[in-house]
């Protein structure tokens, strides 16, 4: 027994000696890090946690994609959860016809693209004025902008409906284009605040230098301030584009027939597919409208902005760091 204890302590000493050795120290620092949060171990833990959350986060998207390509037999089979036994592309075809994709895509693109360009321009102008120009009532205007950010669309939708009806804009893209042009587009208050924040971080000396050189107010804005605001403009453009693309409530009120964007058509998918058969897709008992069809429709709605995001996301995340989106 005594011998055992002695041997144990001898072994412990030996281990300690090795541990104290320089090499071990280095390894330890590499793994645990100097301050615990810069070692490999911490990084591994962070990566693991993030991967887990990311999995949860992406799960509905995965569900969408796998359901989309499942044939009917796989949908009914409870043993199949994620991976379908065979791929079935007919859902995509059905969704393509059901959404009347090319036309709806064009409509959505018109609204989203033009509106977001308008938003960038008008919100830049307004944000610049609020940040850089002194005029009476500036703070009051800013207060009104914040207030308008908080007004839910449901409150003003009925009066807006009758105003647009009077003007004859219903069922045309004008219901979105004109308000966007006048700074009342989707969440434009937020965009004005972003621009205001950005412009107010630029140094004052810039303006003075330009003024000494004889630049007028417009020239100063268009030639000096606006090019500098490129990161903010990119952020606003992408947000605006995506939000207009996904907008559902307003189009469901203002656009009922003929000119409808993609988001509205998902609801009418079944009606279109079951309606007079002009599509070349036959809906039968063997080829019904399934959850897969709806998921295919949903996927086709989000695919274009997804593509835009994949291309732009690097600049986008960088720009957000640089715009000072905060405060």
């Amino acid at each position: 027994m005594v011998e055992l204890v002695q041997r144990w302590s001898a072994a412990k000493n030996k281990i300690r000696q090795v541990w104290i050795g320089r090499k071990a120290q280095k390894v330890k620092r590499l793994i645990i890090g100097q301050y615990l949060n810069d070692g490999l171990m911490a990084k591994a833990v962070i990566c693991m946690m993030l991967s887990f959350i990311a999995y949860l986060y992406l799960q509905p998207l995965l569900y969408m994609v796998t359901t989309m390509v499942k044939p009917l037999s796989d949908l009914l089979d409870p043993t199949i959860k994620w991976i379908p036994r065979s791929l079935d592309w007919s859902n995509l075809k059905k969704a393509w016809y059901g959404l009347q994709y090319p036309e709806a895509f064009r409509n959505t693109l018109i609204i989203a693209l033009i509106c977001s360009i308008f938003q960038v321009c008008i919100c830049a102008i307004t944000g610049y004025a609020l940040a850089r120009l002194r005029f009476f009532g500036r703070n009051f205007a800013f207060f009104l902008i914040i207030l308008s950010f908080m007004v839910p669309p449901q409150i003003i939708i009925i009066p807006l409906y009758s105003i647009y009806g009077e003007l004859g804009w219903l069922n045309t893209p004008l219901v979105f284009l004109i308000p966007a042009l006048f700074g009342q587009g989707l969440r434009s208050a937020l965009f004005i605040i972003i621009f205001r924040q950005f412009f107010s971080t630029l140094p004052k000396a810039l303006e003075e230098a330009a003024k000494v050189d004889g630049a007028s107010g417009f020239y100063l804005f268009a030639r000096i301030m606006l090019p500098l605001a490129r990161p903010a403009a990119l952020v606003v453009f992408l947000f605006s584009f995506i939000w207009y693309w996904n907008m559902y409530y307003e189009p469901s009120m203002f656009l009922n027939s003929s000119f409808t964007p993609l988001s509205i058509r998902l609801n009418n998918l079944e009606a279109v597919l079951l309606g007079p058969d002009m599509s070349g897709v036959k809906i039968t008992a063997q080829n019904p409208i399934t959850e897969g069809t709806k998921m295919a429709g949903a996927f086709m709605i989000i695919a274009p902005p997804l593509l835009v995001y994949m291309i732009a996301q690097r600049w986008f995340v960088e720009s957000i760091d640089r715009t000072g989106l905060v405060e």
Binding site: Y35, A54, I122, R134, Q154, Y248, S263, R314, E327
Partner: protein, 302 residues
């Protein structure tokens, strides 16, 4: 003083005035489009809808037909309607639970993302992804197919547990949230970005300083990162509330919309419902705003 000098001074003053006028004019010129838009597409509709709330509105071929009923719409909504107050209360409870979930989740994820590790860009891209496809229709579709639930809720029989521990009064909103928790988490994309951007405003030298003083990362989180993030927590809470106004799975909005087209209630009644909703959310916002003010003041005093 010579006449010349006086003349010179006058000239200079006039020039200053012109300068001020020019800047004022330029300001108004730049603000004009927004001001027109605000008047036409915000102020007038807002006033109009407030007027609608005091009327019974009928849609006739010639336009609106108003019949004044004072506060009758509000009285009906709060006392006679069996559906609206219940839906409203349930949803407000849910919102009050959802705000901390979203804000804390965003804070947690942004803290993790703020560390340096390989693949940071990839993770940032993933966590911002839902902003793109969190669209009304797609969300509703996913939700109706049950894709927004956490996978372990059914597996571990969470539902009876919640009912047992929280009582029937609170079990419903909690279960409602658990059923769409992933979709709720999707609403934290912008908040995560705000936090990440917010962390950049805390200077690196502060961390170095406390590190030299022997603070552990744990301590420096509680003493520096969290207090530094307080304004952004407030900002995110406000953003979240505003965002949840138009949450696509919002039962209150559905109720308002369905009342709009019911023959016996109509636009006036629906407007009243919307204004009640707005008032409550506005109160909620003011409470959050006051809390932030208080926190900010306390921090300044220290």
């Amino acid at each position: 003083m010579s006449a010349d000098r006086i003349e010179e001074l006058k000239r200079r003053r006039r020039q200053q005035w012109l300068e001020v006028l020019r800047e004022q004019g330029l300001g108004y010129l730049f603000m004009a489009p927004w001001a027109i838009g605000f008047l036409v597409f915000m102020a007038i509709p807002l006033g109009w809808s407030l007027y609608l709330t005091f009327n019974k509105v009928k849609l006739t071929p010639e336009g609106f037909d108003y019949a004044w009923r004072g506060l009758g719409n509000f009285r009906d909504a709060l006392l006679l309607d069996h559906v609206y107050p219940v839906k409203l209360l349930t949803y407000i409870q849910e919102v009050i639970l959802m705000i901390p979930i979203i804000v804390i989740f965003a804070l947690f994820v942004s803290l993790l993302l703020n560390q340096s590790f390989p693949g940071r860009f990839l993770f940032r891209a993933i966590f911002f992804l839902p902003v793109i496809f969190a669209t009304g229709q797609v969300l509703t579709e996913l939700f109706s197919q049950g894709a927004g639930e956490l996978p372990f809720i059914d597996q571990y029989n969470v539902k009876p547990l919640v009912q047992q521990y929280f009582g029937p009064r609170f079990a419903e909103p909690i279960l409602g949230i658990l059923g769409k928790v992933v979709i709720i988490l999707w609403y934290s994309g912008v908040q995560i970005l705000i936090f990440i951007a917010g962390f950049q405003t805390i200077s690196k030298s502060v961390y170095e300083a406390v590190r030299i003083d022997g603070a552990t990362p744990w301590e420096s989180f509680w003493k520096i990162t969290l207090p530094g993030a307080v304004p952004f927590i407030g900002l995110n809470a406000i953003y979240t509330i505003v965002d949840l106004f138009t949450f696509p799975l919002n039962p209150v909005l559905e109720e308002i919309k369905s009342n709009m087209f019911k023959p016996d209630t109509g636009y006036g009644y629906a407007s009243a419902l919307a204004w009640i909703y707005f008032t409550i959310i506005f109160l909620l916002l003011s409470v959050v705003f006051l809390l932030i003010r208080k926190a900010a003041l306390r921090r300044r005093r220290v």
